[in-house]
């Protein structure tokens, strides 16, 4: 009988060791294992590697919440190509704001051979999601320069915020316009929810449009959130908003930017 007890005890110890990473503290624990501050690291890589490029080509994906399989397939597809310089994720990596969701998506995206950056989506703000996003990926507003093009990535999820945080942040937009002026000749604005959508602060939609048009040679805008392909001149001023479908549709956009010109393509896989 004593022997039996020893076996039982041994079984428990083995089980414990086996299950070490199976202990879940809480769905919103904020316990982050592994890589953090991904945007900052990858932006440094993008700015360094493509500084002298005349042509820039990137893939734009968005809304991969709870579509881990489809995102994983996207990574495989893009890794087979060698003509994509970097990848931009338009936000909504998580569906419920769970800590694990961000880490699952990060681990998939980390398999990309090329650098990537992610934007904050409205679902990423749920519960303490924004804190996790900031830790794993980075600030909700940021910018980077690839070749001679400045990419302005903005948090436009106004419905998730209150007036204590400006969304969109006009002082950030203005500040970025003045920063590194000599390094870029044209601009692209990326956001999760576009003007006139349910998330955007539509009271300032035209002011927003005016402020981004102050940027040198604004080419176009990119957005996610609506889960469909969009190509709309929302303000009838020649600035096109290109929306990418959610990754669950197994579709994404590829943009090729040259001097004063750009082309886009909708890819299905």
């Amino acid at each position: 009988m004593k022997k039996n007890c020893t076996y039982i005890a041994l079984f428990f110890v083995l089980f414990l060791i086996q299950g070490c990473d199976m202990f879940d503290v809480h769905p919103y624990s904020g316990k982050i294992d592994g890589r953090q501050h991904i945007n900052t690291e990858n932006i440094a890589k993008i700015e360094h590697d493509y500084a002298d490029r005349d042509t820039i080509r990137y893939a734009f994906i968005s809304d991969s919440q709870r579509w881990h399989d489809e995102l994983d397939d996207f990574v495989k597809i893009v890794n087979l190509r060698n003509d994509i310089d970097f990848i931009i994720h338009g936000g909504d990596l998580s569906d419920f704001g769970l800590t694990k969701e961000f880490l699952w998506q990060r681990d998939i995206l980390d398999k990309l051979k090329q650098p990537y950056v992610a934007l904050l989506g409205n679902h990423d703000c749920l519960a303490n999601g924004e804190e996790i996003f900031q830790q794993v990926f980075g600030s909700p507003n940021y910018s980077f320069i690839a070749g001679k093009t400045k990419f302005l990535c903005l948090n436009t999820n106004a419905l998730e915020s209150d007036y204590s945080t400006p969304v969109p942040d006009f002082s950030f937009i203005e500040h970025e316009r003045q920063t590194d002026k000599e390094r870029f000749e044209q601009s692209v604005v990326i956001m999760h929810a576009r003007p006139m959508s349910d998330q955007f602060n539509n009271n300032v939609a035209s002011v927003f449009q005016y402020s981004i048009k102050q940027y040198p040679n604004l080419l176009y805008c990119n957005n996610g959130h609506d889960h469909i392909y969009q190509k709309d001149d929302i303000f009838k001023d020649g600035i096109i908003y290109y929306g990418t479908p959610n990754i669950g549709k197994r579709q994404f956009l590829i943009f090729t930017i040259t001097k004063d010109h750009y082309a886009h393509e909708l890819v299905s896989y």
Partner: protein, 233 residues
């Protein structure tokens, strides 16, 4: 430190809840004690004896029959609470736990409350003192305190914008346990039970089912617990 964890409102309701919990237990314990004395004077009449016996039983059922501590389980790093075991074979158990989630990479630590219903249908007597329950299963509801978490989405959202609650999690679990009965006949605790549970919640499950990419241990968690059984007279 605890004082800074929550806004005042959440703290007050928490305190009220905890004090209600303890006052219920104390009242029940006092009642049980009082009927013990009364039963002595009333024992001459058989009907009186029966009546007091029933009252005593009723009062006793309010007193927890066990205390427990648990590690992990999606309800906190550690949680502690009290349980009520009942049924002919003590196959039913209702536990109330309070869990602590450290702050990790977020702004603040969190407290959670859990109500758990367990069903343990089978019992295998391994030894005079050791018994093994090959299956324990059930459901637990967990709520996280703090204004970041809502039961229902705030009014600012259009109708049914997010169709879930960040505050209330429904968890299911299966597990096993081993019970060790103490040799003493008069100790406060009569036995100790070690259990483990494999568990998942509504949100983990819906992610796991939908994605082949996610593996078993991505959305199924493991919890370990110890339950101290209080001796009944």
């Amino acid at each position: 430190m605890l004082m800074n964890l929550f806004p005042i409102k959440a703290r007050t309701s928490l305190l009220a809840f905890v004090s209600l919990f303890f006052s219920t237990i104390t009242t029940a314990q006092t009642l049980a004690g009082e009927y013990d004395i009364i039963s002595g004077s009333d024992s001459r009449t058989p009907t009186g004896r029966n009546k007091t016996k029933e009252l005593k039983k009723a009062a006793f059922s309010l007193v927890p029959s066990s205390y427990l501590v648990q590690y992990a389980g999606s309800i906190g790093l550690f949680s502690a609470g009290a349980g009520w075991d009942y049924g002919r074979q003590k196959q039913w158990s209702t536990d109330f736990l309070m869990g602590y989630v450290p702050k990790y990479d977020t702004d603040r630590a969190k407290l959670t409350l859990t109500l758990r219903q367990t069903y343990t249908p089978f019992k295998v007597q391994l030894h005079e003192q050791i018994s093994y329950h090959p299956l324990r299963t059930g459901v637990y509801l967990n709520t996280t305190l703090g204004k970041q978490f809502w039961y229902k989405e705030p009014d600012k959202y259009p109708n049914s914008y997010y169709r879930f609650s960040t505050r209330l999690r429904i968890n299911i679990f299966v597990g096993q346990d081993f019970s060790y009965k103490l040799k003493s006949n008069s100790s406060y605790f009569e036995g100790i039970k070690f259990y483990y549970d494999l568990h998942t919640s509504d949100l983990y499950l819906v992610s796991g089912i939908q994605n082949k990419y996610l593996k078993f241990d991505d959305y199924i968690g493991l919890a370990l617990g110890v339950k101290l059984q209080i001796r009944r007279k």
